[in-house]
């Protein structure tokens, strides 16, 4: 029995809905009657997420939890859940704490490690020959991790490093700073509406330095709202809809057919998570912790991201690609233009004593 806790109402609902839809698509394709999925809405509130986890564990008696979109909610739920012997498969959030010292044999991140995309962006910035990048992110743990991740693989100078207010909607001041800084490029991590606002305002500001960011602000769900302003921007991602492999082609087609929209990275990760889970169920009994963990760790499923395996700390080893935003007919979407990092794991493998 699987419990999915994700955000289905309020501001961040679109991410949770994609996660759910991707996950359920795989589940329904498999069409198995030995797996039952319970879905609940966490409203993006940590305390609600904890409640729901309790409910899933105590009342629904689920064996596996999954679905949380946000790192802070994951931090609220995952340690307690794995401490109680449950498996947690992350469809998205994968904070550093859970990859390093806080790693656990029952916890698998199927998405990435939070830093991966930022590292990819950093690597790309180096490849592209940027020498003087301006970087900005919101002032909260994920934002700080993001800039750290970027700097890990970026070799040039920094024209500026700015932390903005979480939830900020007006970036005129930062854009003016960028203009004045003499930077040759910009890296930003501004999830959700923040990124939309930034891109629109940036496009209108007349500053036309190349911009790089992680996939979040260029995701299928958001791109339509950004519009023209995003076209041409490079972003780092572990997945893209034009990634050339069989599983992906099937996934994209099936998703479009079923939901009548293009899938996003959250949907892809949800889809992969479900398939990973199914592959493990075939091999081992979920009640036998060690065996089931081993089965998961084999990652014996066809990932829509191509090559996929787990590092020692149960986080993926995978490619990080560079995508470019394009316009296909009326729809804004991404195409892959390169690979930033190959078979990349994460920086916390050594810190994990498992």
């Amino acid at each position: 029995k699987v419990g999915m806790i994700t955000t289905l109402s309020g501001g961040g609902a679109s991410l949770g809905i994609d996660t759910r839809d991707g996950f359920m698509l795989a589940m329904e394709d498999a069409n198995r009657d030995d797996v039952e999925v319970v879905i609940e809405d966490d409203q993006r509130k940590p305390d609600i997420a904890v409640q729901l986890a309790d409910k899933m564990i105590q009342s629904e008696k689920v064996d596996v939890l999954t679905g949380i979109v946000w790192s802070n909610l994951a931090m609220a739920v995952v340690p307690a859940a794995t401490a109680q012997g449950l498996f947690y498969l992350s469809t998205n959030a994968a904070p550093a704490q859970l990859a390093g010292k806080g790693c656990n044999s029952n916890y698998f991140s199927v998405s990435y490690q939070n830093d991966n995309l930022h590292e990819g962006a950093g690597a790309y910035a180096t490849q592209a020959g940027f020498k003087n990048t301006f970087i900005l992110a919101p002032n909260y743990p994920a934002g700080i991790d993001s800039l750290t991740g970027f700097k890990r693989f970026y070799e040039g100078e920094l024209a500026g490093e700015v932390y903005t207010k979480l939830g900020q909607t007006d970036y005129a001041a930062e854009i003016a700073q960028i203009r004045a800084s003499g930077a040759d490029s910009v890296f930003f991590f501004l999830p959700g509406g923040m990124g939309i606002s930034f891109l629109k305002q940036y496009a209108d500001s007349g500053v036309d330095l190349p911009v790089v960011g992680p996939a979040f602000s260029f995701d299928q769900g958001i791109l339509q709202a950004v519009g023209e302003a995003a076209v041409g921007v490079k972003n780092s991602s572990t997945w893209s809809k034009d990634l050339d492999n069989e599983a992906n082609a099937a996934f994209v087609a099936a998703f479009q057919q079923k939901y009548d929209r293009l899938p996003s990275i959250y949907a892809a990760q949800g889809y992969d998570t479900a398939n990973l889970l199914l592959s493990a169920i075939d091999k081992a009994d979920v009640n036998d912790d060690a065996a089931f963990a081993a089965a998961l760790k084999e990652a014996d499923f066809a990932s829509v991201r191509g090559e996929f395996s787990f590092a020692a700390n149960n986080h993926p080893i995978q490619n990080v690609y560079v995508r470019e935003v394009i316009k296909e007919g009326d729809v804004f979407t991404n195409k892959i233009v390169g690979t930033a990092l190959e078979d990349h794991a994460n920086a916390y493998v050594d810190a994990c004593k498992m």
Partner: protein, 306 residues
């Protein structure tokens, strides 16, 4: 740091203040003048933005989008007033808080139900896109200049309406004593519906104008609502002039502290902690500003004596 950058940042602060004013003006009208705590004001802002995005999506015209935003928000405002708010003038503020909180829930989820969970697209019109060069070589987005203009215009118009017209006097009188002004022959119910619709329309206008450079999504109204409350409280509830000054103060503080404080701190400490401490304090700056103002003047800068 160059003078040009400083001037540009001051302009940014002004412009964000003017945008805040558009939102705060409607709120101060309703809150101050009608004595109603309307938490759902942010929802009307959202309604404006969504209406504009929807109409712009179909027609491609920004002007029509603005008209739609005004109309939709005004209509929503009038409906709320007649159906809900009107019954609450006599009850205490707390009932209004609960009722308008309920309205937020209904509006937010209702909008999500109609428009889906994904942010919508609304862009600035071509005629106003791109930067212009101001004297002194400052590059500044034309659209933002236009926003400053619209804001100033609205501010002036509202000030005229409230301070200089008979309707304005009647509205303010109604705030002091609703029963009495009716007993002296003014149809206060109609007047209030009108004021509410006007306040709502202003919120809708703000939503549409701002939506073009930000993201049009469910829940976009709440953070602005809090800011708008901060603005009107700093300025003094019910005072259009206060709302205007308050908005500029908040806009400038928010922008300038966020930019300059980390720089200032860097003079005293390492770059990394300076950046993070600076931006932490910056996020609190307007609240600190508000507390200081209120501790100094308990009814805001231009508030009538409480």
């Amino acid at each position: 740091m160059s003078t040009i950058l400083i001037i540009e940042q001051v302009l940014n602060g002004l412009q964000s203040g003017v945008m805040l004013f558009l939102m705060a003006a409607g709120l101060t009208l309703i809150f101050g003048v009608m004595g109603l705590i309307n938490l759902a004001h942010g929802s009307l802002y959202m309604v404006g933005a969504f209406a504009a995005a929807a109409v712009a999506g179909v027609t491609g015209s920004f002007v029509l989008a603005l008209v739609a935003a005004l109309a939709a928000a005004a209509l929503a405002g009038a409906v709320i007033e007649v159906a809900v708010i009107r019954r609450l003038y006599d009850s205490d503020h707390l009932d209004q808080v609960l009722a308008t909180f309920a309205l937020i829930l209904i509006f937010s989820e209702g909008t999500r139900w109609v428009f889906g969970s994904f942010p919508l697209f609304l862009d600035i019109p071509d005629a106003l896109s791109g930067p212009v060069t101001l004297p002194g070589g400052i590059q500044y987005p034309l659209y933002r200049l236009a926003l400053i203009g619209v804001g100033l215009l609205v501010a002036f118009g509202l000030w005229l309406l409230i301070e200089r017209t008979r309707i304005g006097i009647q509205i303010r009188a109604g705030e002091n004593d609703r029963e009495m002004i009716a007993a002296l022959g003014v149809d206060i119910s109609k007047l209030y519906t009108l004021v509410f619709a006007l306040g709502a329309a202003l919120a809708g206008l703000a939503g549409a104008l701002v939506g073009a450079i930000q993201s049009v999504q469910v829940g976009m109204g709440e953070p602005v609502l809090i800011l708008a409350f901060v603005v009107i409280v700093i300025g003094g509830i019910g005072s259009i002039k206060g709302a205007f000054i308050g908005a500029l103060l908040v806009g400038l503080t928010d922008t300038l502290v966020g930019i300059f404080l980390p720089e200032v701190l860097k003079l005293f400490m390492d770059a990394a902690p300076a950046t993070s401490a600076g931006s932490s304090i910056a996020s609190m700056s307007i609240y600190i500003l508000m507390s200081l103002v209120l501790i100094w003047r308990p009814s805001g800068l231009f508030g009538a004596r409480a």
